[in-house]
């Protein structure tokens, strides 16, 4: 038996799906988190019927009209795949909006069970709903549920099994849903009738007190948090606080103990192996595997603290306000207001972020957003930020915070450039997003989110990063004649000879050595690789001090081993953050852009942006700190001028074509 879960965005579908299937799909206290269907089996705890039930969680939809991509996924699924039953999740606190979709679902003839969700919030809001009347008027069972409190789960599954195989009568019949010939205007006309029907239904079933004090307080908070002047400084302060806690206070405290265990493991394995082991095997196991992976795993506590806080922020409803604050800036540079959602999702992982661009209907805006979303520092880049902010900068928190804002700046600048290059006019977009209510964030949900990300981090470190580190160690140990490289002669190794040509290109950016070039290249496989590779090539197994409770002590030692100035380190960090993302994210860009020209253009743009930003940071920073420009200034300037020249040429070419076309028209 197959059940489809449908409902408005942010009505709690995915939370309910997670409860009844035991899965841990990403949920958020805002609309648009789910952009594709997900499937899972109902757990035995909730299914007392003995029937095997498969649940399909569909993206949120306000209606069954096929005019937005995520709604069309829902619409196509229920129309074409004919599930046995539809469970319609209705937000009990917003009945009038939710029932529009319900009436459309009832018209399909597939048995519907309404889950009146968020009933735990009704009392506080002074809302009473007459369940019996609602059920009678709709002609289907209505069950009270609370996904968060896990209430009504058994009942909803029970009712779904009972109605399976029976038909469904509709209280409102428009007979347009199965008519694909109708245009948008016809849909809208019929929907007006439907709205009137729903309004009448709500009046008969719901008693709502006038706006409560709590709502007024929420509005007052919004006026400050989403204010056009205060919104950005508040966001900056929040991110600064998040980084301070994760990288300066709590994170290092936990990391210190954690790294101590990794060090003990290193010493223990070293002790077991003794003196007679082949140096190749010994270095591969100790430096390549334990050292390389251990150096990365050392940052796990910092990352976990950071993700825990981000999950709290998301659950509180604050991130939805950030979307509203950013909307006005993105609209001005020709992006859709919806572009901010992929970018916020991209702070966790660029891949789902890029995938979320599919909700943007305008093709140019969708492709531009897919190209620019990876500029937001994702979770994989956090160890790199943590490493460099800790090793080279005493006040670690401002580095991470500023990386987010540099990313936003590049996105805005990039959107302007892409708009000028493509010269395609997009319809002015209006971003309508339902703001979720502020709520006390759940520690449990934040914990689950943090643990799931930690699990992802550990698995990645134990697989891709481990294999890469082993390969790097082998390439560093041998030369092209497959002879062991003598100590101190690593620059004759296979790795050095492969990375050296790239190192020359990076000279004007302040980090033209093969070790750093190799780490940047392996970062394209997975960004965490930058940390792992640096650990292997410099033979550092611990970037975090175990003696003092401070991040990366021996900071001076690590910095001197790398031979970088603080300015060059910042340039290197930015190069790794703002050049193209990992290959998997590039694959996602390819899928969403659906154009080779856009894909390669996007990769070239990302490479150019990373190079230009790093060049400016290094050369200007060096000029300020030492009074003269850094290494290879002139060749770098030529390269940057060439990049900027091409961008200007592409922007002007379109102007010229437009001018000539206008001239021809007279």
């Amino acid at each position: 038996m197959r059940i489809a879960l449908t409902g408005n965005p942010n009505s709690g579908k995915t939370t309910l799906f997670n409860v009844i299937t035991g899965k841990v799909e990403h949920v958020g206290n805002w609309a648009g988190v789910t952009v594709d269907k997900k499937e899972g089996d109902v757990k035995g705890d909730w299914n007392k019927t003995g029937t095997k039930i498969r649940i399909v969680d569909l993206p949120g939809a306000y209606s069954m009209s096929p005019y937005s991509s995520e709604e069309s996924i829902t619409s196509n699924f229920v129309k074409n795949e004919q599930p046995d039953v539809i469970i319609n999740i209705v937000d009990a606190t917003n009945l009038s909006r939710s029932l529009l979709l319900t009436t459309q679902l009832l018209e399909l003839g597939i048995p519907v069970v309404v889950a009146l969700n968020k009933i735990d919030l009704l009392k506080n809001k002074g809302i009473t709903i007459n369940l019996k009347v609602l059920s009678k008027k709709l002609g289907c069972p209505v069950v009270e549920t609370s996904s968060i409190l896990k209430k009504g789960m058994v009942e909803i599954i029970d009712q779904a099994v009972k109605v399976s195989g029976k038909g469904q009568k509709a209280p409102f019949q428009s007979s347009i849903l199965n008519n694909d010939e109708l245009d948008k205007k016809a849909y809208e006309a019929k929907d007006k009738e439907r709205f009137r029907f729903v309004d009448k239904l709500v009046k008969e079933t719901e008693i709502r007190e006038v706006e409560s004090k709590k709502q007024t307080r929420q509005d007052a908070i919004d006026r400050i948090v989403a204010n056009k002047i205060l919104g950005i400084p508040i966001f900056a302060a929040v991110i600064y606080l998040v980084f301070s806690i994760s990288q300066s206070w709590l994170g290092p405290l936990i990391a210190d103990y954690f790294v101590g265990w990794i060090d003990k493991l290193y010493v223990f394995v070293d002790g077991i192996m003794g003196e007679n082991i082949s140096p190749l095997l010994s270095t591969l196991l100790l430096d390549g595997i334990i050292g390389g992976v251990g150096a990365l795993i050392g940052f796990l506590p910092l990352i976990m603290v950071l993700f825990f806080q981000l999950a709290l922020l998301e659950d509180s409803g604050y991130m939805a306000r950030v979307a509203v604050v950013m909307d006005r800036y993105l609209k001005k540079v020709g992006l859709s207001g919806k572009s901010i959602i992929p970018m916020i999702i991209g702070t966790g992982c660029a891949i789902p972020g890029v995938m979320a661009t599919r909700t943007i209907r305008d093709e140019r805006q969708r492709r531009t957003t897919a190209m620019l979303t990876p500029f937001m520092p994702c979770g994989a880049k956090l160890p790199v930020i943590a490493l460099f902010s800790g090793v080279f900068f005493e006040n670690a928190a401002w580095v991470g915070t500023s990386m987010y804002f540099v990313g936003i700046g590049i996105i805005i600048g990039g959107a302007l450039i892409v708009r000028r290059i493509t010269k395609e006019s997009s319809a002015k977009s209006y971003f309508i997003m339902e703001l979720p209510e502020y709520r006390l964030p759940s520690i449990k949900r934040a914990y689950v989110s943090m643990m799931s990300r930690a699990k992802a981090f550990i698995i990645k470190a134990a697989t891709i990063i481990l294999v890469c580190n082993a390969a790097i160690q082998i390439m560093q140990t041998f030369n092209w004649n497959f002879q062991l490289v003598a100590e101190g002669m690593e620059n004759t190794s296979i790795l050095a000879s492969l990375a050296n040509p790239f190192a020359y290109l990076l000279l004007p950016l302040g980090f033209g050595v093969w070790q750093l070039a190799a780490a940047a290249i392996t970062g394209f496989i997975a960004k965490e690789n930058v940390v792992g590779t640096l650990a292997v090539v410099y033979g550092i197994s611990n970037f975090i001090d175990t003696e003092e409770l401070a991040l990366v002590s021996g900071a001076n030692d690590v910095a001197s081993i790398m031979g970088l100035s603080s300015v060059a380190a910042l340039a290197y960090l930015m190069f790794n953050l703002f050049t193209p993302p990992c290959f998997a994210a590039i694959g996602a860009m390819n899928a969403e852009m659906e154009s080779r020209k856009w894909l390669w253009g996007g990769i070239a743009f990302q490479l150019s942006m990373g190079y230009v930003v790093s060049f400016i940071v290094y050369q200007v920073g060096t000029l300020i700190t030492t009074g003269s420009f850094g290494n290879a200034f002139v060749p770098g300037l030529i390269a940057v001028a060439f990049i900027i020249g091409i961008i200007f040429y592409l922007m002007q070419r379109n102007n010229q074509e437009e001018y000539e076309a206008l001239k021809e028209l007279g």
Partner: protein, 54 residues
């Protein structure tokens, strides 16, 4: 000699387990081998049999 063989086997086992896990995840059809959400994140889409990541 025996110590070297043991270490060689341990290193080989660790690396081959990692490679096998990546291979297994890749075979499942998702885009991000080794990611535990390979099959279920918005980008994975494996469970619907419509992996979009090419």
């Amino acid at each position: 000699m025996l110590e070297n063989l043991i270490v060689f086997l341990v290193v080989g086992m660790i690396i081959s387990s990692a490679v096998y896990k990546i291979y297994k995840d890749k075979k499942k059809g998702g885009g991000c081998a080794s990611c535990p959400y390979n099959t279920s994140c918005s980008g994975g889409i494996q469970n619907t049999g419509e992996c979009d990541i090419k």
